[in-house]
């Protein structure tokens, strides 16, 4: 099944109208869905034979967080969900696709998205004692003040 057919089927299952879908370059169909329906949407996609999740992109747009789930099978199929800035919370898709674990962990530490049911919510890329906030957020500039080793740097400068 190609991705366009899968997108039509997905819209039928979720009762979405055509305006939620748009085409972006390199043969990619993007569908906006409500965040409550994410797990149902992923199940529908898996059922239609598309099992490859390329990546999860998180970004901040007009104060809200946008999560993009990029599926692929000869063409791309992207699910878009919008999360509220005050409470960025969404179900983890790891029980359905275990390969999503690293992508969700990355979005968690870089943007502060809470994935409900994420099996191993520990830092992936940032240091264990990182206290610089969520570095990829637009408003937040990462602060390096409290990281380990900085006092050594200061001592080196003063001596």
């Amino acid at each position: 099944m190609n991705t366009e057919k899968a997108a039509i089927e997905l819209r039928d299952v979720l009762n979405l109208d055509k305006s939620t879908t748009k085409q972006i370059p390199f043969n990619e169909v993007e569908i906006s869905i409500p965040k409550q329906q994410l797990l149902l949407a992923v199940k529908t996609i898996l059922k239609s034979g598309i099992w490859h999740l390329s990546a999860i992109t998180c970004q901040q747009l007009e104060d809200d967080f946008i999560l993009l789930y990029h599926f692929w099978k000869s063409g791309g199929l992207t699910l878009q969900i919008r999360l509220d800035e005050k409470k960025p919370q969404v179900d983890s898709i790891c029980p359905l696709i275990p390969g999503a674990e690293y992508y969700e962990r990355e979005a968690r530490e870089m943007f502060g998205i809470e994935f409900l049911g994420l099996p191993n919510p520990v830092p992936l890329l940032l240091p264990d004692d990182w206290q610089g906030g969520y570095p990829m957020r637009k408003k937040e500039q990462p602060s390096y003040d409290k990281t380990e080793g900085d006092d050594l740097l200061e001592k080196g400068k003063s001596s």
């Binding site: 692929w72 390969g99 690293y102």
Partner: protein
Amino acid sequence: MSKITVPIGPQHPLLKEPLSFLVSLEGEKVTDSVLRLGYVHRGIEKLAEQRTYIQNIYLIERICGICSHIHSTTYCQSVEALLKLKVPKRGLYIRMLLCELERIHSHLLWLGVLAKNIGLNTLFMYAWRDREIVLNIMEEISGGRVSHSVNVIGGVQVNLTENHLSLLQQNLQKLNTRVKEILRSIENDRSFQARTQKIGHLSLEDIKRYCVVGPVARASGLDIDIRRDAPYAAYDELTFEVPVMTEGDVWARSILRVLETLQAIRLCVQIINNLPDGPVSIPAPRRVPAGEVVSRAEAPRGEVFYYVRSDGSQNPARLKVRTPTLTTLITLPGQLKNMQLADVSAIIAGVDLCIACGDR
């Protein structure tokens, strides 16, 4: 039996880049392993938001020290899609040539690393000797051995001369003979088989569940290759085969990569024989219209994924990079389980990790 935990990394002779494994052992058997990334995390995605589209080409190239060209290719083709630019054919062909040379270089480098990790030093030396041929060609074309800076938005900034073409003709033939010789010697070599067969096994189900890409997926029987399934640049004009094996162990991955190297040489020969005339690039505006694009390409380690969103300014609003190493890393704890400690080195080398890619 008492349990011991052995730390492998972040600094370890086995690893060429920093990565940490905490391997729990019962006797010689691995019972569990915990993986930790982030020792070469440079925040490239954040940095990219603060630089212009042109500056980003050179930043993106520094994600990886082995497959730098494929990163800039994927990035440039994303931006070109946003600008609706049509890159001249000759530019695309030179891009593809560098991509395939890079694949040969990456696979031979990897073969050397695996050979060294399993104690076959002669194979290591042969593989790296032959890798020099490719590196010399790339240096001749671009001026750099690993960071080429060949891509610009709208094409490439180098051109191939008659000298380059004759150098390529001669050396690719030599390389083809040498790689075939390597294939012949490892295919039936008993000591190579003893160290690589039936270890690090991944089934086709696991590959699909973990969304693994590249040679690791193809060695487990998954027929997937972006160059053929969703052609970018001008791959739809070339003929090549995608080797697929079903064993799913380190041995299959090794043979498969050597077969892929032969296919890459075949592609290079096709490219230089069919090289179109004309310009290599077209001028591109500095401001990129608002929009978003998803771009994929087949790096030496599998599908590399780029998402670029522009808000109409000089800098990208979001640049997301997903490298193929991230998909294979997640399978490593499963592959190591119930293996002997002595096989850990072969398994880690077998998946061809590029930690700098994974960490970004």
